[in-house]
């Protein structure tokens, strides 16, 4: 190469011939800022309010780049773990699987790909905190149709409405094995549901066991803290499903139906015993007397018997199960199912004295003196009357009493036109039972249908079966004939008025809107109440009853340290799973009390 050979130096300058010409590829540059492409996968953004901290992003990350951490100002609550994701950008490969599996859709990737800082170790990135304005530059977002989550529930096979009213056959038919596995596979195992379950059942664990084909393990896990799981699998109020992570954008996992599926694989009491294979501790010589064989009493009895206590239950009726036996119609909870579960509880050594009403057949004092501790799961055996003119007419009754008598096998004359007053599950149950006896049924409710406390599935079921619902009607009078039989019910139409105190809207009667509805029977389903007449005065003072319920501490212990209580007569939620939770808590407390 000679000294004068300047080719290598000057050649690049030939590029100058393009100077000033319009570029072919990059238009508008440098005037317009370059924007990343659609669906570009840049830095993470998380909508902190939408995120429920399920941790699915952290679980899926194949680079172990995502941690779930506590953030200041975000508290855990029901339906939210309180944790939020943080990404290690030194590990992230921007595959976006975390976005694809996010059930709420709160996590996304933005168009941002430049991040400058003086700290060479600043790789930890909390989406939403470190880029609060990231929402404006979202690029790769989760979309429901292409998400890796399955938002659609496997439909539950049911009897047709017209078929149902012909008999008391069970309406819900239950999943088969394949349906159950598919439904269970939708669960992301976050466990957010367990917090709202009053009994804190191990939901993700047993659903996972079903998903992996181990039904026996599922049954064993379920029986860890619930001795009446098939009942819950059929009729539970399932608050768990309300907070299911999948329910944020789709149908919640059918937790209740999956529990039902698992427990039904243990078809008999013996088989249940074989699968659960409970460890029964050696008898410790201590005794527990239990009043009432409802869910709370049975639960306390079962777990106390497992711990070696000698347990005896006193039950006023001919069958165990309490409100689940006598309050729930058989098309929802067949008697065989309940018998199987109670048979299993008896098989591990729980003794039940049927037809023994405390206060009549045996005194409370006798039980109190005979046993080392007493648990009362006495429930709410009475119902509120309607409290209007003509309430005493023949054919005017309480829906709860009606259900009790039908379930006990008695005949009740209801005629062919039934009006049920109320909007809870008892009202719907009484209406649907009356339909099965061929009556025309109308439900009269003070508020709107949307305000009904009953399960929406039950309301829909009732409508399918031809039950007519009149919302916003306030009953004022029951009409009767000369012989004192009900002929009709008079009601006032109501308008909904917003509550000044911030409560739910109140119904206010519209004057002059009296309407008479023809009826042969009127059933009041406006609430139940306790009957504590079995308690002698000396105990009543000590045990304490306030606003119709026993007062207990967090261990279910009443004012008398030897007496524990649970179920409807204690908690305000008044459902079976709360009663089971009470019984389970009482069992632990009694064990602790007697082990001292």
């Amino acid at each position: 190469m000679s000294f004068f050979d300047l080719q290598g130096t000057l050649k690049p300058l030939t590029a100058l011939k393009q100077f000033g010409k319009k570029p072919h590829t990059l238009k508008d540059i440098p005037w317009k800022k370059r924007e990343a492409s659609d669906r570009y996968r840049g830095l993470h953004f998380n909508d902190l309010d939408e995120c429920i901290g399920c941790g699915n992003c952290s679980t899926i990350c194949q680079n172990a780049a995502i941690d779930m951490i506590h953030l200041e100002g975000i508290e855990g609550k029901k339906g939210d773990s309180g944790l939020r994701p943080r990404v290690d950008n030194g590990r992230c490969c921007w595959c976006a699987l975390c976005v694809e599996v996010c059930p709420t859709g709160s996590l996304s990737l933005t168009k941002d790909y430049i991040y400058v800082t003086e700290d060479p170790d600043a790789f930890l990135w909390t989406p939403g905190v470190d880029n609060p304005d990231g929402a404006e530059r979202k690029s790769f977002v989760s979309d429901k149709d292409h998400s890796l989550n399955d938002f659609n529930r496997i439909p539950m096979p049911e009897l047709e409405g017209k078929e149902r009213v012909k008999s008391f056959a069970e309406v819900v038919l239950g999943y088969n094995e394949q349906q159950a596995r598919e439904e269970a596979s939708r669960c992301i195992s976050c466990g957010i549901c367990t917090e709202v379950c009053p009994d804190h059942m191990h939901i993700p664990e047993y659903i996972n066991a079903i998903a992996s084909g181990n039904d026996k393990d599922a049954v064993k896990i379920i029986y860890d803290n619930n001795p009446l799981p098939e009942m819950c699998g059929k009729v539970c109020t399932r608050r768990c499903e309300d907070v299911c992570a999948i329910a944020t954008r789709g149908d919640s996992v059918a937790i209740r139906w999956l529990k039902r599926y698992a427990t039904e694989t243990a078809a008999t009491a013996d088989l249940t015993h074989e699968i659960v294979n409970p460890e029964i501790k050696e008898a410790n010589g201590k005794t527990v007397g239990i009043i009432g064989a409802g869910p709370s009493g049975l639960t306390a009895a079962y777990y106390l018997a497992l711990r070696g206590y000698d347990v005896t239950i006193y039950e006023a009726s001919a069958k165990a199960g309490g409100a689940t036996m006598y309050g729930i119609p058989k098309y929802r909870l067949p008697i065989e199912s309940l018998d199987k579960q109670i048979g299993y509880i008896q098989s591990i050594g729980v003794k039940i004295n049927f037809n023994t009403k405390v206060g009549k057949d045996i005194s409370f004092k006798e039980i109190y003196d005979k046993y080392d501790t007493v648990f009362m799961g006495v429930g709410f055996p009475d119902a509120w009357p309607l409290g209007v003119d003509g309430d005493d007419a023949k054919g005017s009754m309480q829906a709860f009493r009606y259900l009790y008598m039908i379930n006990a096998g008695d005949k009740v004359d209801i005629g062919d036109k039934v009006v049920v007053v109320g909007g809870g599950n008892v009202a719907i149950d009484a209406a649907r039972v009356s339909r099965r006896f061929g009556a025309e049924v109308t439900i009269l409710y003070r508020r709107r249908v949307a305000d009904m406390p009953a399960d929406w599935e039950e309301i829909e079921g009732a409508e399918d079966e031809g039950v007519h619902i009149i919302p916003q009607g306030i009953p004022t009078k029951i009409h009767k004939d000369d012989k004192g039989h009900v002929t009709g019910i008079e009601y006032l139409k109501a308008k909904m008025v917003a509550d000044d105190k911030g409560g739910r809207p109140r119904p206010v009667a519209i004057e002059g809107s009296e309407t008479i509805l023809e009826a042969t029977a009127v059933m009041a389903a406006i609430g139940q109440m306790g009957d504590y007449s079995f308690l002698p005065k000396e105990f009543e003072d000590k045990i304490k009853i306030e606003r119709g319920r026993f007062v207990v501490n967090e261990k279910q212990q009443t004012g008398d340290p030897k007496v524990f209580a649970g179920g409807d007569a204690v908690n305000r939620t008044a459902d079976a799973i709360s009663a089971i939770a009470d019984g389970f808590r009482a069992c632990k407390a009694i064990d602790e009390y007697l082990s001292k």
Binding site: D67, M68, I69, L83, C190, D217
Partner: protein, 188 residues
């Protein structure tokens, strides 16, 4: 377009009767052939049917069926037809003929597939390593490769991540739920 595709299928079937075709909307055509037939099919498609361009070789691990799948994606610039040639290879003994004498760029794809999926191409001349350096595990794009396990084994955790919480135990501690040991194997 339909006519062009039908004509193509007829022509291919005349020469390779065992080829199975599947039709898609638009200008896409799919063909499944035995792995032994791949070089001759591709050569015929290139020389006699105008599929002059190899766009890509895609690969799938069908672990449950014990097979790998290769998809040669061809393009005919004249007829504007995309042709996907599928073939399955036994996972136990994954060997197939090299085709880089038909399209030179196939060499690069084959190197990648050899490294990431572990398929051997008979007669492939290329350096041993492609992207991975000193790789001593099973090929990482196989479905039985546990990425998370590998990552945890290979890379240290950055300081400052010690405050990470487990969602399930955060919730169970808060509600007082006691998860029995025999159930824990089903926890996330």
């Amino acid at each position: 377009m339909k006519e062009i595709k039908d004509k193509m299928i007829a022509q291919i079937k005349a020469v390779f009767p065992e080829a199975v075709n599947k039709d898609y909307d638009g200008n896409r055509l799919d063909l499944t052939v035995n792995k032994e037939a791949v070089p001759s099919v591709l050569l015929y498609l290139k020389d006699s049917m105008g599929f002059r361009h190899l766009s890509h070789i895609a690969y799938v691990d069908w672990i449950e069926q014990g097979e790998f799948e290769l998809v040669y994606i061809l393009w005919s610039p004249l007829d504007k037809v995309k042709l996907y040639v599928h073939t399955r290879i036994n996972r136990e003994n994954p060997v197939i003929e090299n085709i880089d004498m038909i399209w030179r760029q196939a060499n690069t794809y084959e190197r990648e597939i050899r490294e990431m999926l572990g398929i051997e191409f008979t007669g492939l001349v290329a350096p041993d390593e492609f992207i991975l350096e000193d790789w001593d595990d099973i090929p990482p794009f196989r479905k039985d490769f546990d990425t998370l396990e590998y990552v945890n084994r290979t890379f240290w955790h950055r300081p400052g991540r010690e405050d990470a919480q487990d969602v399930r135990s955060t919730i169970s501690e808060r509600s007082g739920e006691e998860i029995p040991d025999f159930a824990k194997k089903y926890s996330r």
